[in-house]
Symmetry: C2
Subunit: 348 residues, 2 copies
């Protein structure tokens, strides 16, 4: 009987458990541990674990794989605590949103003969907790893996197999690179969502304003509704990179504000329109790649599949949409240019 | 036979047409007009209009209601153009995202005997165009209405009935208030999404970074993927309010950056945690109201329905979640406080 222990049975831990149990492997036992007993009970009810235990040693002893799915700062405590409980040959992994600190802690605390493979599933939801867990949370998601120093190939392969079992796509990345990249695409979006919510909800007119907020506000603010403790831990363990990206965003926001402010004349309107079209294009290109899962020269992971004809078609259509759009903008500019010329003629 | 004309058959115009046609009223004819013939043809195919015409007079002549569903700046041209075509007694409405400029244009251009009721459906999608239109786009959405000067009660009631037929909830608002409020909850989110995309995609490492972007980046940037021309028009016609809210967001972002920067010690971490928890709470409260459609003292619209027991339960549960969360944060603070005390003891 193989044993996998999941420590922390929230959205991520619970979803991993549900995906593992969904494999219906009669030789696999999934044991869960959560600091809150009620969460453990729910995890059993939701089919995320075969059993939930209330003592940490009972969870990790004899486990081939231990998955730590707590907020980042709690991973440190957990690594310290389980160091004396795990068997030689055990593989420990985590799901923390930052990786440099975690890799350091694992190296510091875990004994020899125990491998650590850091992990970060690139998936989430606006709401935390076992109630929101789903066996499909990781389907088609990319899943970052960072083998600890001296982790044997077999241990790495075991975690790759685990991740593929969640229907996610594993890829390897350096911890420093990971943290600096997620600061841009995971942590900066959190700050922007927070800034939106705090700027608007602080207004004395928020009671009236809030009634006008709809789907656009909902999606832009979605990360402000994600677990604040998880977000806090990520910011704390990635301060330098988060501050860097916050500064980049502030600079862009100032630039956009100035463009809006100057859009009262034709040249200003065109400058703002060009900026909006550029972001639109960049977002469309990214989104097409994201939806198809095809980032062409993605040589960091084991994914070597060719894009399907459908995906190529999607690429083509985005290109057409972009051209059409620019054409439309160009036509407007040209019309304005003609009008400007006519006005000039009238003046002379 | 009643006739409704829809000018502009994109996402909004197309969806209105599909919802109207879905009512299967044998006495109603929906006629569409779009500058692009291909869009008109698609609208017919998608069942958004009974017929698409290529001459504007053919669309609006004899129509009881004319709906202008173009980007804001095009509404001006349309009002000017149709002024000589519409019959006495006709009611004109629009779906533009800003309302002050539109109300001024309607007053300036439309002849006596023709009523104008400005409108703004609080619904949208990340992608524009007739292909994305849906008869359910407005279901449960709030729909702002602003009667023009001297619009008779019967005309207002006709548009209220139209909006209710789209399954949306009409409410009345002043044009100035409307524009200042949507600047906060519709236009500021656009700027934040644009800032996110431009800050990240400008990075020399974007090729690598972009592969790490997932659902959080997707939702925060969703508005950067919405129609840039529509967004441009909204910014141009609402500059002052958009600049005001951009400044508020910049201030919040600077504050958050400084909090992250200072989160390297316990007091700093707690300050950041408190800020994240506050935004989380504000977002949860808003989101619960938004999902239930119950903004309690919403006395501006005709919606007087009491919240259902399910909605009240949702309110209660959010409260419980917030309390639980704060409790958890408080416990952590307390634990840290104890540790700090212990450390202090050891030192003496």
């Amino acid at each position: 009987m193989d044993k996998i222990a999941i420590i922390g049975l929230g959205l991520i831990g619970g979803s991993i458990g549900m995906a593992l149990k969904g494999q219906k492997n009669p030789n696999l036992q999934v044991v869960g541990f959560d600091l809150e007993n009620s969460v453990g009970n729910k995890a059993v009810k939701r089919g995320a674990v075969d059993k939930a235990v209330w003592q940490l040693p009972e969870a990790v002893e004899g486990a081939q794989i231990v998955i730590i799915a707590t907020p980042v700062l709690a991973i440190r405590d957990m690594l310290q605590t389980i160091a004396g409980m795990v068997s030689r040959g055990c593989i420990v992994t985590d799901t923390g949103g930052t990786k440099r600190a975690v890799m350091d802690w694992a190296e510091e605390y875990l004994p020899e003969g125990v491998s650590f493979i850091g992990g970060n599933p690139m998936a989430g939801k606006d709401m935390a907790g076992i109630d929101k867990a789903s066996p499909d949370l990781f389907r088609n998601a990319r899943y970052a893996l960072i083998p600890g120093k001296g982790a044997p190939e077999a241990a790495v392969q075991a975690i790759v197999t685990l991740v593929e079992g969640l229907k996610a796509t594993p890829f390897f990345v350096d911890a420093y690179e990971h943290d600096s990249h997620v600061a841009a695409v995971s942590h900066l979006p959190i700050l922007l969502a927070e800034a939106l919510v705090s700027a608007t909800s602080k207004s004395p007119a928020w009671r009236e304003i809030s009634r006008m907020a709809a789907s656009g506000y909902e999606s832009t603010s979605v990360l402000a509704g994600s677990d604040p403790l998880t977000n806090l831990d990520m910011c704390i363990t990635n301060r330098e990179a988060v501050v860097h990206w916050a500064n980049e965003a502030i600079r862009e926001l100032v630039r956009l504000r100035d463009l809006v402010n100057g859009a009262g004349n034709e040249a200003g309107a065109e400058a703002l329109g060009t900026a909006l079209a550029k972001s639109w294009e960049a977002r469309e290109i990214w989104h097409t790649k994201y939806l198809s899962g095809d980032f062409s020269s993605d040589d960091a992971g084991p994914r070597t599949q060719m894009p399907s004809p459908g995906e190529l078609l999607a690429d083509f259509m985005v290109g057409a949409r972009i051209r059409e759009r620019y054409q439309q903008m160009f036509n407007i500019s040209e019309k304005k240019e003609q009008e400007r010329r006519q006005r000039r003629f009238r003046k002379t």
